[in-house]
């Protein structure tokens, strides 16, 4: 998803890595510093997938860096394991397994809790390494005598004992690491990870098992960390226990933030700045221990003023330089764009696009005339009863409206139907299956989803990427580890995304970031996200809220156009529009069903008028 010319970044990386040992010494980099930068850069690639792409800030990466390094060093020194690189791989695998187990605990919570738990876990590893396991890890002495790899190729023997030759090995590892990471971030999994970063709630609601994907990112980060830790032991000929320090995690976080998170190269850039400055301040300026104070101040200033790190700053600068021209172009095209209502008229004449679910979706069970049935649905919040024994059923293909005064319990009712909220009592049957107590992800996979009252979009992604994320959930199921596949190669995704965007009239805006859309456009995308999962039952929570009269007319048109072959339930306060749109209306009042009937019946119903107007005098 990130770029159209796939191999450009890879090629540039290779060129950079080949050129670096010839250029950097002239800038004052010592050979060991360059090697160290590569190790931190490699360590950081995994961390950036976790932090920059998935939005999970871990302060505990030292645990995996140390684990990988210690396992490899233990195999090579104490067990006399002969194959150096195999040992490093084993270290990375052990780190990944440990990462999986730690992730199971740490990912029980998100945000700040997650950060705190990772700190605590890393500290445990530090103490375990120093005390209970010191017989294996050498305690505070570490493990000396880690050998460098020797490859016997038959005709020649590759020996990596000098800094220069070791650079070759490390650069090769870094290159492979970045190639794999680029594949991952361009894969469907990568797309889902950035969706989780932007809006985990919606990522789950369109049908992705976000816990599984977060755990995946955590394990990937642990594997990279473990591999880098193994290389550290080889480079130094000694595995230092300091790898487990909290400082190691802290330094990684700071380097990534300095370079720019979410770029994959940020950690490398950050490590370059960090290690260069630390060398420079200590050896050239003779600042001694003060170097860390200077770097700390630099870091704080950077976080305050350069939000996206050095790479982000450069990108912004480049945009500023080229941005004016682009902006002018954008304004011109906007001027030429057909007015939305005209576009609408043109498109309503066009053939209707059907978004049909893929064959992997389970078929309805039993009697197919009723798509949804809720029995005795009750929700209590402490003493407050928001929904009180609601019985509700919807026929297949029906368009149903739900109205009711504010506080009638409409949104609570929807939240229970989509399984965002567990009912206190009662049960819900969808297409013959009891879905009570299922997760929102599971019911979306069955074909029931909702568009939200308040837009829940992936704000940092483009319109097309937003739709792609929803489509991926339907095409690939809740969880799949197709890490190395390109997102565009998943069958049927591109076509479905294009269709969806056409239906919601956003095809022309496909490559704009969501943050640049107008409110009405965001509202259409909100519905597009729900639609992209090809639901058989679509719930719409106030789709017309906040729209101008003209936009309302268009939205009603849009809703009509998507209702073919689909059941819809719509909550709205705009009765004129709603009555035009739906076949039957259910009126909720104070958490109960007041009355149900055709729009005409509801209009004439005295009880409904009384509910809304608080008492109508008999004429």
């Amino acid at each position: 998803m990130r770029n159209q010319r796939p191999l450009v970044i890879e090629t540039l990386t290779a060129i950079g890595l080949i050129a670096a040992p010839f250029v950097l010494p002239y800038l004052g980099f010592a050979p060991t510093t360059v090697n160290r930068i590569l190790i931190w850069g490699l360590f950081g690639i995994g961390f950036d997938i976790l932090f920059g792409f998935t939005g999970l800030l871990s302060f505990g990466q030292s645990a995996f860096f140390g684990t990988g390094g210690m396992v490899a060093a233990y195999l090579l020194t104490i067990m006399n394991f002969p194959h150096v690189m195999t040992a490093v791989f084993i270290g990375a695998i052990v780190a990944a397994v440990v990462g999986y187990l730690v992730g199971l605990i740490a990912l029980r919570r998100t945000g700040i809790y997650f950060a705190m738990i990772t700190v605590a876990i890393a500290e445990v590893f530090y103490f375990v390494e120093f005390n209970p396991l010191s017989a294996y890890t050498g305690g505070e002495n570490g493990l000396p005598g880690v050998p460098t790899p020797v490859f016997n190729l038959g005709f020649t023997t590759l020996n990596f004992s000098s800094d220069r030759s070791l650079y070759g090995l490390l650069a090769f590892c870094y290159f492979i690491g970045i190639v794999i990471a680029l594949r991952i971030v361009r894969s469907p999994v990568g797309a889902v990870l950035s969706a989780i970063r932007d809006n985990p709630l919606r990522a789950a609601a369109v049908g992705h098992n976000i816990h599984g994907y977060k755990l995946t990112a955590f394990v990937i980060a642990a594997a990279y960390a473990g591999f880098a830790g193994g290389l550290l032991g080889i480079m130094q000929g000694f595995m230092p226990p300091e790898a487990f320090n909290f400082d190691t995690s802290g330094q990684l976080v700071m380097q990534t933030a300095i370079g720019g998170a979410g770029t994959l190269f940020g950690p490398l850039v950050g490590a370059t700045v960090w290690l260069y400055l630390s060398d420079f301040l200590q050896t050239t300026l003779h600042l001694g221990a003060t170097w860390k104070l200077v770097l700390g101040i630099v870091f704080v200033l950077l976080v305050c003023f350069l939000r996206h790190g050095l790479i982000g700053g450069l990108v912004d600068l480049a945009r500023l330089a080229t941005g004016n021209a682009q902006h002018r172009k954008a304004v011109e095209t906007a001027g030429h764009r057909v007015a939305p209502s005209a576009a609408l008229a043109a498109e309503s004449a066009a053939p209707i696009i059907h978004l049909t679910p893929s064959p992997r979706r389970p078929k309805p069970v039993g009697d197919s005339s009723t798509i949804l049935q809720a029995e005795g649905l009750t929700k209590r919040f402490g003493g407050l009863v928001a929904n009180d024994g609601i019985n509700f059923s919807v026929r297949c293909g029906e368009r149903r409206g739900i109205i009711g005064p504010n506080g009638a319990g409409k949104s609570t009712f929807f939240k229970m139907l989509t399984c965002e909220m567990r009912p206190s009592e009662g049960r819900i049957v969808f297409e013959g299956r009891d879905i009570t107590g299922m997760s929102v992800t599971e019911v979306c996979q069955l074909g029931l989803t909702k568009s939200y009252q308040v837009n829940q979009l992936f704000n940092r992604l483009t319109v097309r990427e937003n739709a792609t994320i929803a489509v991926l959930a339907e095409k690939r199921g809740p969880f799949r580890l197709d890490l190395l596949r390109h997102v565009g190669s998943v069958e049927g995704v591109t076509a479905r995304v294009d269709d969806t965007l056409k239906v919601v009239h956003l095809a022309e805006r496909a490559d704009r970031p969501v943050s640049e859309l107008a409110y009405g456009e965001k509202r259409r995308l909100e519905i597009g996200l729900a639609l992209a999962t090809a639901p058989s039952l679509l719930l719409l929570d106030e789709p017309l809220a906040g729209m101008s009269p003209l936009e309302r007319v268009e939205m009603v048109q849009l809703l009509k156009s998507i209702s073919h072959g689909r059941t819809m339930i719509i909550i709205d306060h705009d009765m004129d529009s709603l009555f035009e749109l739906v076949e039957r209306v259910t009126v909720l009042q104070e958490g109960r069903v007041l009355v149900e009937g055709t729009p005409a019946e509801i209009k004439g119903n005295a009880a409904v008028q009384e509910a809304y107007l608080g008492g109508v005098h008999a004429a």
Partner: protein, 301 residues
């Protein structure tokens, strides 16, 4: 580590056990105080202050400087608390206040960076060697309690910290400011809508929360000598306390602190190396059984 020590020559007997439980109580009360500071800041402002451990350390150093010049322990306590409160208020005004609208990650990064700056600045001015503040003369020595002897200052420390916790409780639950703070923890947008200047409250809360850490830093100085990096392990233990007790909950911080203190002390009696492991096991248990902490609610994340 705040005041972790293993039993002498590994003999586990009744007096050792009781005295370790007492140590646990002292450590627990201290952790409760530090964690309360962290948790009210987080609860009200939504900012997890990763510099909180450094604040603890700053309190110790500010107190040490005051003690060196005046020779008075009372002066040291006042200087330590007020200085850190001032640092907290300035930090909130100058830097943190610009981060309320930025993502949580940025807040973590900037407070983490500030923590490093504080630690390294202290190292720059005072060096890496540890400093100690003796307990005030009336509280020096040991006191016989029943069948064992216990350091007098530690007994007094329990009282001092308990008084500080009570004071904090009084401020939080019996004053207008406390009511606003607790309301802010529930819903700061609502408090703002009621016409209360939340930003002024934020500044005060940050000051009070920092002061709790600074106060703990100086009163603990006679027990464990101070060094620039003394705050790091305190911060980690505080996190465990907050996770166990529940974020944003003052009673949770007190309960979590006492639990954590006892776990660390009792484990140390057998093998100090496992104290963190046990602490972590307790945290995991709480996360599995009660994901929002013992006394926390599913509000903020």
């Amino acid at each position: 580590m705040v005041c972790l020590e293993s039993a002498d020559d590994g003999v586990i007997n009744w007096p050792t056990f009781v005295s370790q439980c007492f140590n646990g109580l002292v450590l627990g009360a201290l952790l409760a105080l530090i964690s309360s500071g962290l948790t009210i800041i987080y609860g009200t402002l939504g900012v997890l202050n990763l510099a909180h451990g450094a604040m603890f350390m700053l309190g110790g150093y500010a107190g040490w400087v005051a003690y060196t010049y005046t020779g008075s322990f009372i002066a040291a306590i006042i200087a330590g608390s007020l200085f850190v409160m001032l640092v907290g208020v300035v930090m909130e005004r100058v830097i943190i206040s610009h981060f309320y609208t930025r993502p949580h990650e940025d807040q973590l990064l900037v407070t983490f960076g500030l923590g490093i700056v504080f630690v390294e600045a202290v190292r720059f001015f005072f060096g890496s060697l540890s400093k100690s503040v003796p307990p005030p003369p009336p509280l020096a020595g040991i006191t016989p309690i029943g069948f064992m002897f216990y350091p007098t200052y530690r007994l007094a420390l329990l009282g001092i910290v308990a008084v500080a916790l009570l004071a904090l409780y009084f401020v939080l639950y019996r004053t207008r400011l406390g009511m606003i703070v607790r309301a802010g923890i529930e819903d700061s947008v609502m408090v703002d809508s009621l016409g209360i200047d939340v930003y002024k409250v934020f500044m005060l809360v940050f000051g009070i929360g920092a002061m709790a850490a600074g106060f703990a830093g100086i009163v603990n100085a006679p027990v464990v000598s101070i060094a620039p990096d003394v705050g790091e392990s305190v911060l980690v233990q505080t996190f465990v306390v907050v996770v166990i007790g529940g974020v944003g909950s003052f009673p949770g911080a007190v309960l979590g602190g006492l639990i954590a203190g006892e776990i660390v002390s009792i484990t140390s009696m057998f093998n100090p190396g496992y104290s963190y492991v046990m602490l972590f096991a307790a945290m995991t248990l709480v996360l599995v059984l009660r994901p929002y902490g013992l006394l926390g609610t599913a509000g903020r994340e």
